[in-house]
């Protein structure tokens, strides 16, 4: 009779209790997996930002624009490798609720600054040569079923077209991918020149600039030089790393995220405590049996091992199935939520973290009763039963 058989028999002697315990653990890890994925999706823009990329905004706020002349001045700053400029278009496709992240950019410099963008050479050239051309991210193209060569109307909720209305027409010149799976490709990029010439107001203004530096180490110097250049001008600038900017932006969503996560994590741990308590009790109930096993000549360490493996087994059966369910859930809602949270993935880090918690749960709930079993004096154990 192997030890495993005994462990298994012990575990399943009260099927209902086993089921309830596993179920509670299952739920706890389901939520843990789902919520942690959500959290890391929210933070992913921070982790994905390039180290040597800086963004230059108007000091008043990032929604205020800058004069286009600034681009040339920034290009001459020492340490700046490439610089490009972007205008937020406020685009939507057909319905105002179907928002499209769309920006008017200078094509050639944009692709130099955003090196993550992967696009076939002939599509790239086609985009450069067609003023009405637009470059569309893979995920965005999937959402609306767009293909290269399609003509699509895109409306703006900010700008109006010279010919009346708010709708611009674009031809899709190319579809780009990111160099990593997590790169957000729900964007549409089009020519700044086309935009400037066809809008009724806005003039020669740009939204913001993005630039790369020769080396991340000189970021701070470059940022300072740029801001000093424009100090006391009509439009002062604020230069920061892309990472810092994204982080600040996420913090704007604010304490809410933090509150939700702390509430959920408290709940997660409390459930583990409650379940752990039951698991420990279940083993303590068997003091008498353990005494019998000892009398039969089972060594203390062997019993210790058996008790511990039982609680670990329960923790992992419940936990792993919960984690698997969380993965299914995340995969299921991924496409549905792609518009808001492009990077919703339950990745290895999260799984590893969850597995650590399972291990911890199994160890903590198992160790105490296991130690008691280890030290159990047979005579007292039998006496207690009376």
């Amino acid at each position: 009779m192997s030890d495993f058989y005994l462990v298994f028999k012990n575990m399943t002697r009260k099927p209902l209790r086993l089921f309830l315990t596993c179920f509670a653990i299952f739920i706890a890890f389901l939520i843990f997996g789902a919520v942690t994925s959500l959290k890391s999706a929210l933070n992913s823009s921070v982790e994905l930002s390039a180290d040597n990329r800086l963004v230059v905004f108007n000091r008043i706020n990032f929604t205020q624009s800058l004069p286009i002349a600034y681009v040339q001045k920034v290009a001459t700053v020492e340490g700046v490798k490439h610089v490009t400029h972007l205008n937020w278009f406020g685009g939507y496709f057909q319905e105002p609720s179907r928002q499209v992240v769309s920006m008017a950019v200078d094509p050639e410099s944009y692709l130099k600054v955003y090196e993550e963008i992967v696009i076939p050479e002939e599509q790239k050239q086609a985009w450069f040569n067609n003023r009405q051309g637009a470059l569309v991210g893979e995920k965005l193209a999937q959402i609306y079923g767009w293909k290269v060569g399609d003509r699509i109307p895109l409306s703006s909720n900010i700008f109006s077209h010279k010919d009346g209305g708010y709708t611009w027409e674009f031809v899709i010149s190319g579809i780009f991918k990111g160099d990593t799976e997590q790169y957000d490709t729900r964007q549409l990029l089009f020519h700044y020149k086309y935009f400037m010439e066809t809008q009724t107001f806005g003039g020669d203004w740009i939204g913001w600039m993005a630039l790369t530096t020769d080396d991340p180490a000189i970021n701070e110097n470059v940022a300072k030089t740029i801001d000093d250049n424009f100090a006391n001008s009509q439009s002062e600038t604020d230069t920061s790393t892309e990472k810092a900017f994204n982080k600040a932006f996420i913090e704007q969503i604010g304490n809410i995220g933090l509150i939700i996560f702390s509430v959920v994590f408290t709940a997660f741990f409390t459930i583990l405590v409650v379940v752990g308590n039951t698991m420990a009790l279940a083993i303590r109930e068997r003091t008498g049996e353990i005494a019998v096993l000892k009398t039969l000549g089972f060594s203390s360490t062997r019993i210790f091992r058996m008790v511990l493996s039982e609680s670990l087994l329960i923790a992992f059966v419940g936990g792993l199935s919960g984690l698997a369910a969380a993965w299914l859930l995340v995969e299921g809602v991924k496409t549905f939520l792609a518009r808001f949270l492009p990077n919703l993935i339950l990745d290895g880090d999260i799984a590893l973290q969850a597995i650590l918690f399972m291990l911890l749960l199994g160890l903590i709930t198992g160790l105490m009763p296991a130690f008691q079993a280890l030290r159990l004096n047979i005579v007292t154990a039998f006496n207690r039963q009376q």
């Binding site: 939520i31 002062e236 939700i260 308590n277």
Partner: protein
């Protein structure tokens, strides 16, 4: 009948009296229900607070006009001649100074959040005296109104709570312009308290906005009656505007946090399932622990029903105790908690969590449900078990 009640009472008391012996199991049960109730209340309090901030702002007496297709003020542009055309429209209330129309413009500026020390968007709204007068629930809490034509501004109470550096007398620099805070206003806790207000002409000139605006607020002649204004817009091709009542506008702006509330409901229901499994387990163990006691009672002539009721009562007492504990924790941690988030107009909405009495009722109901379910099945089993079997198993 009287004896049945007496039986139930004595079994219940006995069960409760012996709780101490099962201290850890009982605590686990209390804990489990406390968590579920606390999570639920936290989410509900958040949704409630946000809703109060949004809906309090909307009056059906006021119409808000923006460029068609723009979902919020920040995306809209309106020119002076359009304002003039609308002011002449039928359906606009007038007083001795003329039509009650307030063209408004806002720019987004940065403020330093107290909680994180990071920059966040705050709207700086420009409006005229009519606009100020149209906000009936607005009152100055401290200081005075800004003087038109100067770089003076007044700040909402919410901004003061959440952001640093907007106290009265402070000078605030946005780009090249230096502003002085001269007053603090309250609008009864609604979204306008998340804003800074200043003179419209000054904002137009400081931010190169010419004679443009973003929205027009106007007082309606008849409460909620947008028809005459919509007819004017239809007739006049220069008016590419959309009119809605302020109430409708804020209701649509408040939608996104509704999702968070729904998310909260889902999370707490799923968590509740997990905690329920824990509670059920506890109760089963607790009943198994007393199998011999229950059997003895029944051998003595107590009815099955009283044994059943006694167990359910025990579970419910524990769950309600947990519910109280959870509500208390939620109340202590969350009630009045100030927070802010990015709202529909891309600016911070400052609001507080609000634990209203009806939330406590919902929490209590949830606790009772947990107690009932987790008591019912083990009690059923206890009451159904043949006395002989119970004795044999217990030894």
């Amino acid at each position: 009948m009287g004896s049945l009640v007496a039986q139930i009472v004595s079994v219940t008391l006995m069960n409760l009296g012996s709780l101490r012996r099962r201290l850890w199991m009982s605590l686990a049960m209390v804990f489990a229900s406390a968590v579920v109730v606390a999570i639920l209340l936290a989410f509900l309090a958040m949704a409630k607070g946000f809703e109060a901030t949004m809906s309090g702002a909307g009056s059906s007496q006021i119409a808000i006009l923006m460029r068609e297709g723009s979902a919020s003020e920040i995306n809209s542009v309106i020119l002076q001649d359009q304002v003039n055309l609308i002011a002449e429209s039928a359906g606009v209330a007038r007083d001795t100074n003329g039509p009650l129309v307030s063209p408004e413009l806002y720019v987004i500026v940065d403020g330093l959040k107290k909680s994180t020390g990071t920059e966040a968007n705050i709207p700086l709204r420009g409006l005229n005296e009519t606009g100020m007068a149209m906000r009936n629930n607005m009152r100055m809490v401290e200081g005075r109104m800004f003087t038109p034509g100067t770089n003076e501004m007044i700040v909402g109470e919410g901004v003061l709570r959440e952001f640093n550096g907007f106290e009265i007398g402070k000078e605030v620099r946005f780009g090249k312009n230096l502003w002085t805070v001269v007053g603090v206003f309250s609008t009864g806790g609604n979204i306008f308290e998340s804003e800074l207000w200043a003179d419209i002409k000054i904002i137009q000139s400081h931010y190169n906005r010419g004679n443009s605006y973003q929205s027009i607020r106007l007082q309606l002649e008849n409460n909620g009656d947008l028809k005459p204004i919509q007819e004017t817009i239809k007739r006049e091709p220069r008016l590419n505007l959309e009119a809605q009542t302020e109430q409708e506008y804020f209701a649509s702006q408040g939608k996104q946090l509704q999702y968070i509330a729904t998310f909260g409901w889902i999370i707490s229901s799923v968590m509740a399932l997990g905690a329920l499994a824990g509670a059920l387990n506890t109760m089963y163990t607790s009943v198994a622990d007393r199998a011999r006691e229950i059997a003895t009672l029944r051998a003595l002539g107590f009815s099955n029903f009283s044994a059943f009721c006694g167990t359910i009562a025990e579970a419910m007492v524990l769950a309600v105790a947990g519910g109280l504990l959870g509500s208390l924790a939620a109340y202590l941690f969350f009630d009045g908690l100030n927070t802010s988030t990015l709202g529909g107009s891309f600016t911070q909405v400052v609001f507080s969590f609000e634990m209203s009495p009806d939330l406590f009722v919902q929490g209590a109901v949830l606790a009772l449900v947990i107690g009932f379910i987790s008591g019912f099945f083990p009690a059923w089993r206890a009451a159904r078990m043949p006395v002989v079997v119970a004795f044999r198993h217990a030894t």
